[in-house]
């Protein structure tokens, strides 16, 4: 992956975080390194317990790393208390101050920074406008809805103009429709303010739709960092491929790597081209993944063949489960639906699965 220009807002270098001691010690973060660029919408994605929230807390200063450095525009902030870091957080529970009004909440950070009253007032007004909450400025935070609380939490964290904004699963408490709205709202705010966002979520769809880049985490490690396209189309290993979207795993013997492409010979005897990550030299057998929508079900012969076992209608598309000949593996093909037309296959049909030139990826495991 070529290094893109632009400054790094945050550089995490070899950070470890160990909880407990002796035999009970657990590494919540196992030597993690990652660079987050200026003005980027960066997402830490992974299942619960993967270390994403721990990493966020280390950047915020609510906890300190056991080893390693965290640089903010080149300065090591790893051991600074939170009130000395020009970084603000939107909490999962919002953590709005219940004894203050919406305006007082938004102005709190600026007040603590010792800004003059007039400046605080002007900035609060600006923030209220930015999150469209002018009409509720003097309400108590207990008198507004969850979505409105979310906006106040955002305005409060953005008001002191932090160098980096940290968001800890801020949308998880909202219902589906409101969540979709807030996803767009967050993107808008990020574009408008130009602040670097670090967003933590376990929701892969949320990560794909919002992020400039994503770091996929599991068991305290970062497995892959890349654009949503990279992560989805070129997963580096089995965990990433499995965690993000649906995938078919195939075993193949790899030969003839050239320009990032390899010839992969499947068990059926068919050979397909599969892309290989930079610098990765698979030897012999490896796992190849094909996304369900990158394969095509055809009548007659193709790279793979099998028997249709199940046809599942999803509205926008249809998932067809095919039991592969000569093995027990299921292969799922997703086909876009057309109006007033079936997918053309029924349970029990023999079918071929066509895998195009740019449909497969060799995994690193």
């Amino acid at each position: 992956m070529p290094e893109q220009p632009g400054k790094n807002a945050i550089e995490v270098r070899g950070v470890r975080k160990v909880f407990g001691a002796g035999d009970a010690a657990v590494a919540a973060l196992d030597t993690v390194s990652v660079s987050i660029r200026e003005n980027e919408f960066f997402t830490l994605l992974g299942p619960s317990g993967c270390g994403k929230t721990t990493l966020l807390r280390l950047i915020a200063g609510f906890d300190y790393p056991s080893a390693g450095e965290i640089l903010l525009y080149g300065d090591d902030i790893a051991l600074l208390p939170p009130f000395k870091r020009p970084v603000n957080t939107v909490f999962q529970s919002y953590a709005l101050f219940p004894h203050m009004t919406v305006s007082q909440n938004i102005g709190f950070g600026l007040e603590m920074l010792g800004k003059p009253k007039a400046e605080v007032k002007a900035r609060v007004a600006e923030m209220l406008k930015l999150v469209r909450m002018e009409h509720l400025a003097s309400r108590r935070t207990s008198q507004i809805s969850g979505g409105q609380q979310q906006r106040v939490a955002l305005a409060r964290a953005l008001a002191p103009q932090p160098k980096v904004l940290l968001l800890d699963e801020p949308l998880s408490a909202l219902d589906y429709k409101l969540r979709k709205e807030m996803q767009i709202e967050l993107k808008r705010l990020q574009n408008q303010t130009g602040i670097t966002f670090i967003f933590v979520t376990h929701d892969q769809e949320e990560a794909l739709t919002m992020s400039d880049r994503i770091a996929v985490m599991s068991s305290g490690k970062i497995l892959q960092v890349g654009s949503p396209w990279d992560i989805y189309d070129k997963p580096a290993d089995r965990f990433v491929a499995d965690f993000i979207g649906e995938t078919n795993f195939l075993t193949a013997s790899i030969a003839g790597i050239e320009n990032g492409k390899a010839r992969a010979t499947l068990k059926s005897g068919a050979t397909i081209t599969a892309s290989v990550a930079d610098g990765f030299q698979p030897k012999g057998e490896a796992t190849v993944v094909v996304r369900p929508e990158h394969a095509k079900l055809v009548k007659g012969k193709a790279e793979l063949s099998g028997t249709v076992e199940n046809v599942v209608y999803f509205g926008t598309d249809t998932h067809i489960h095919v039991r592969l000949d000569g093995s027990d593996d299921l292969f799922i093909v997703r086909q876009q639906n057309a109006r007033s037309a079936g997918c053309g296959f029924e349970t029990g049909d023999k079918a071929g699965i066509a895998i195009g030139d740019d449909a497969a990826q060799v995994l690193r495991d």
Partner: protein, 266 residues
């Protein structure tokens, strides 16, 4: 539809409840009624009068004991509340850690140890100090009251803190508040009803104490309850009823305030 089980519909429920209420409140009602007795008797009615209230309010010993009670209660409750607030902050504002339960037990120990044991222990302990220092003022009573008031002040404060999200202080720190500013601007305003409730509870508990006070006090250091106890030994007049009634009224007022304060902003 089958009726769901309700204890209120079991046979005898109303009777038992009535007996309990009578046993609880009847003696108090009788005591209050006889405070207004014209005759110098706590059992024979001789007409309505306020003379016992008048005589109690002019009794130099009663006034002296009352003032002392208030003085001790005010100082001890304040000191106990400060200590309890700090203890509550220390035991709730961090994630749970091993040894925390032990600390709870240590703080609440005065609730478990029989008062008479504490009384005897303090008597022996303080008498040594008296010999060494020669000091025999109210300090001993204040120290003793502070000690047994701490758990009573601690409980409502801790209850309030436990309902307060830890992330509030984190948010304050994240928004550039130093630990002291975070405490002043976020923790303290939210904790205030709990602190007031703890203070009032401690005040009432101190005001009411007999056993420990009886052991710790030096000569001429009667509080209102120990004075009343002393009077009863010499034969009762309705003046005791009048003092008790005034005392009761004060406690009811404070406990009612406590109730409203601790319910506030929940």
């Amino acid at each position: 539809m089958a009726k769901s089980f309700s204890i209120r519909h079991q046979p005898g429920f109303t009777t038992i409840a009535a007996v309990c209420f009578v046993a609880l409140y009847m003696p108090i009602i009788v005591l209050v009624v006889y405070a207004f007795n014209e005759a110098p008797s706590t059992s024979e009615w001789g007409g309505f009068s306020l003379k016992w209230f008048q005589s109690a309010s002019q009794n130099a010993q009663v006034i002296d004991a009352t003032l002392r009670s208030f003085q001790i209660a005010a100082i001890a409750a304040t000191l106990a509340t400060i200590a309890a607030t700090m203890a509550a902050l220390a035991t709730t504002r961090t994630p749970p850690y091993p040894g925390l339960t032990f600390k709870y037990a240590m703080i609440n120990q005065p609730l478990m140890v029989p008062e008479i044991v504490t009384g005897v222990a303090l008597l022996i302990f303080f008498s040594r100090i008296k010999i060494f220092t020669g000091y025999s003022g109210l300090g001993y009573l204040i120290a003793a009251h502070t000690a047994f008031c701490i758990p009573f002040a601690y409980l409502p404060i801790r209850a309030r803190l436990e309902n307060m999200d830890l992330s509030l202080e984190r948010a304050a720190a994240d928004l550039y508040a130093t630990p002291w500013q975070a405490f002043r601007r976020v923790t303290l305003p939210l904790l205030w009803p709990g602190i007031l409730a703890g203070l009032m509870l401690a005040f009432v508990i101190s005001l009411d104490d007999v056993v420990i006070t009886e052991f710790v006090k030096s000569g001429g250091q009667d509080t209102l309850p120990t004075y009343m106890l002393g009077q009863i030994r010499r034969g009762i007049t309705p003046e005791i009823n009048a003092i008790s009634t005034a005392f009761l009224l004060l406690s009811v007022v404070i406990v009612t305030l406590f109730f409203f304060v601790s319910r506030k902003r929940d």
